[in-house]
């Protein structure tokens, strides 16, 4: 380090240095829960900061809040936790952020330096535990390192392919003093994310696209991370290209746009999977050929050449060989691609678009009518009640309700559908909604949850109420671990093993009221719109317990390991009309 003039440095504690670094980084909100090894940082919070600290009820909640904040804002989410169990409770959100490429900076307290390795109280080797699920982690060795480490942490979290990082700071270093100056640059010789897609590769991609008769843009979550949705729209319109968005990319392309053709994969509509699997050119944009998208890989899109655009070279040809790889920032790549497509021969895709429209007409999403309230009806009502609004952000848990949310909600704007895709983390929805609300206080944030998911993180209702981060949670309550029940019904001869949760225990509306939130219970279709409208309009944290048909299954479904077009579709029972 070069010596710096005294005027630019201040003598402060390591804990203060953490906060001054976050402030210099432009962080507005951190989510966390204090404990012994992070006390000096919490004391620094009490002594004064511009940061807002949101006190979670469980560190897992804090981590998912930081993720929700990141996905709603596009900025890294920040979570604080103490050593040992505080840090291990962050492991699930870190793994979740790793799988979904969510920029997340976790700061954990560690036991005092001289106690490390002695099995001290609340000691855990958290950098060791998290090694496979972080982009990088730092165990701070000297107080002087703190500003440099935090600068590097934010830089790594949000450059290249986004993801989680962890900074572990022993308590004695939080108390030690250092000469503070926040560095303007980082020195990371081994961290060189690509800065530009190669013009020759982009030109080749444009040529392939222009020559294709049945192309499909297969858009993944990387498009959102790259802030490249405007460029994506330009590409699609310039080439008259149909767009299929993955679960992670829902909202990256306007879903009411004539070129949007649904969502691929295990519970995607038949017409979306037909588009993906019968195309002659698959243009993957920030997508990673996940098994839930492709089904049996060997049978996936058999007639298609692949153009793969991604910031991460390690995704190219990982699962499906790319004929034209383009590695670089999607904003630049898509921008240049749009420019080239406008100069090439007029698109030849109209017959293909007509075919896709015909399939969409022929194979609509269907479900049964009659009997108990259908979960799909809950989602359709939510969709209709919010149609035309531009201030709604959805979050979900994981399972049947998540897939129905994908199928029935409509998102026309980026960063309005926040869900756990890769890791499939039950319990993600409520805390992610709180984080999204902190990022977008003007938005109406609605968590579509399952009853199993809700019970994993419902304690964060206290956070929503007391931190004035009102969210609406709609519990699609079928009294089951529904997706597991569906697998047992379909693939295990209907032997339902340990999946019944009951719809009545707990009483979710009563639970909501115990937290000082509004609670609603509906079990009939005619009550639905009123309860949901009231919850959306009340301006407070609210829980709507929607008691739905316990045995409703989510269709279509591609059985695990089957080819995408071997999907199981909804079958109309005799004498019942389809909706």
């Amino acid at each position: 380090m070069n010596p710096v003039p005294a005027a630019q440095t201040r003598r402060i504690s390591g804990a203060d240095a953490v906060l001054r670094s976050l402030e210099a980084e432009g962080v507005e909100v951190v989510f966390g829960l204090p404990g012994g090894a992070i006390l000096p940082i919490y004391d620094a919070l009490a002594r004064g900061t511009t940061l807002r600290h949101v006190l979670a009820r469980h560190e897992q909640g804090a981590g998912h809040m930081a993720e929700g904040y990141a996905r709603a804002s596009g900025r890294p989410g920040v979570a604080f936790a103490t050593s040992g169990p505080g840090a291990t409770n962050l492991v699930t959100p870190i793994a979740d952020a790793w799988m979904d490429s969510t920029p997340l900076v976790c700061v954990t307290g560690q036991v005092r330096s001289h106690l490390i390795g002695t099995d001290a109280f609340q000691e855990c080797d958290i950098t060791g535990v998290t090694t496979p699920i972080v982009k990088h982690s730092w165990l701070v060795q000297e107080a002087e390192e703190i500003p440099h480490v935090l600068k590097a942490a934010f830089h790594v979290a949000r450059t290249g392919r986004c993801g989680p990082v962890l900074v572990d700071i022993p308590r004695d270093l939080q108390e030690a003093e250092l000469d503070f100056r926040y560095p303007e640059q980082v020195d990371l010789p081994g961290w060189r994310p690509p800065t530009r897609g190669h013009p020759r590769q982009i030109a080749e991609a444009a040529r392939r696209i222009a020559a294709a008769e049945r192309p499909v843009l297969y858009v993944g979550g990387g498009t959102l991370n790259a802030d490249a949705c405007a460029e994506l729209l330009e590409v699609a319109e310039a080439g008259r290209l149909p767009v299929v968005t993955t679960l992670m990319a829902k909202g990256a392309f306007p879903e009411t746009h004539e070129l949007h053709f649904g969502w691929p994969g295990m519970h995607g509509p038949k017409w979306s999977n037909l588009a993906m699997n019968t195309c002659d050119l698959l243009v993957a944009v920030g997508a990673r050929f996940d098994d839930r998208v492709t089904g049996k890989l060997a049978a996936f899109a058999p007639g298609a050449a692949v153009v793969h655009l991604d910031i991460d070279a390690a995704e190219i040809s990982k699962l499906r060989r790319a004929d034209v790889p383009v590695v670089g920032p999607l904003k630049q790549i898509l921008g240049e691609l749009a420019g080239l497509l406008k100069t090439l021969t007029p698109p030849r895709t109209e017959p293909w678009l007509r075919q896709l429209e015909a399939w969409r007409e022929e194979f609509p999403l269907r479900y049964g009518n009659g009997g108990e309230l259908k979960p799909q009806r809950v989602l359709e009502t939510l969709r209709d009640l919010t149609s035309g609004r531009d201030d709604v952000i959805w979050t979900t848990g994981v399972g049947q309700h998540q897939m129905w949310a994908m199928q029935y909600l409509r998102c026309d704007r980026p960063r309005t559908f926040i869900t756990s895709g890769g890791l499939g983390t039950m319990g993600y929805g409520v805390p992610a909604a709180i984080g999204a609300k902190a990022a977008r206080p003007d938005a109406t944030v609605v968590c579509v949850d399952g009853d199993g998911c809700f019970q994993m993180t419902s304690q964060e209702l206290a956070t929503a109420v007391l931190e004035d981060l009102p969210i609406v949670t709609v519990v699609v309550n079928n009294g089951y671990l529904g997706m597991v029940q569906q697998w047992q019904s379909m693939f295990f001869d209907e032997r339902h093993s340990h999946v019944s949760l009951t719809r009545a225990v707990p009483d979710y509306a009563l639970l909501a009221r115990a937290y000082g939130a509004e609670g609603f219970t509906v079990s009939a279709e005619h009550e639905l719109a009123d309860a949901l409208s009231e919850a959306l309009a009340c301006g407070r944290t609210a829980v709507v317990d929607a008691r739905v048909d316990p045995m409703e299954q989510c269709f279509p479904m591609i059985p695990a390991g089957a080819a995408a077009l071997e999907m199981v579709e909804y079958e109309e029972p005799a004498g019942v009309s389809a909706a």
Partner: protein
Amino acid sequence: MTHTLSVLVENKPGALVRVCQLFARRGFNIESLAVGPTERPDVSCITLRVNCEQQPLEQIEKQMHKLVNVLRVRELPPDESVERELGLITVAAPPPRRAELLALTEVFNARVADVGPETIVFEIVGEPEEIDSFEELLRPHGIRELARTGRIGLRRASTRRPQLQRALT
């Protein structure tokens, strides 16, 4: 197929673990591993041998490139690299057998590192395959203990062609 990788990393705690974990998570066993300094004090070189197919290896190399501490990854093709290893071998050596053992030592350019009343410690430096052969010939005499450093390697000066370095994509 067995591959030799040479990985330059920042000389920092955790760098080795992060590299090795990419193999461990896939259940690939690292057959030999050598870590040591390079011409730059802040850079270490990891040489590792692993038995895996080409496709997963390429994937692992790309993921290695993404590690913050990793500066360079390259494969050392056997015909284009100089590879060496050091072995220390303690062999039972009652006086009547010593002459035979010392003759063997000469053939392999090995050295006697230590002599005791009943055993000799041999030291051999060479290509890993030579050490294998030496080990096999000593085995009938009774190997009491054996330690090998794992191979290290560099590109041959005579065939150094920069374009051979594996491209990122």
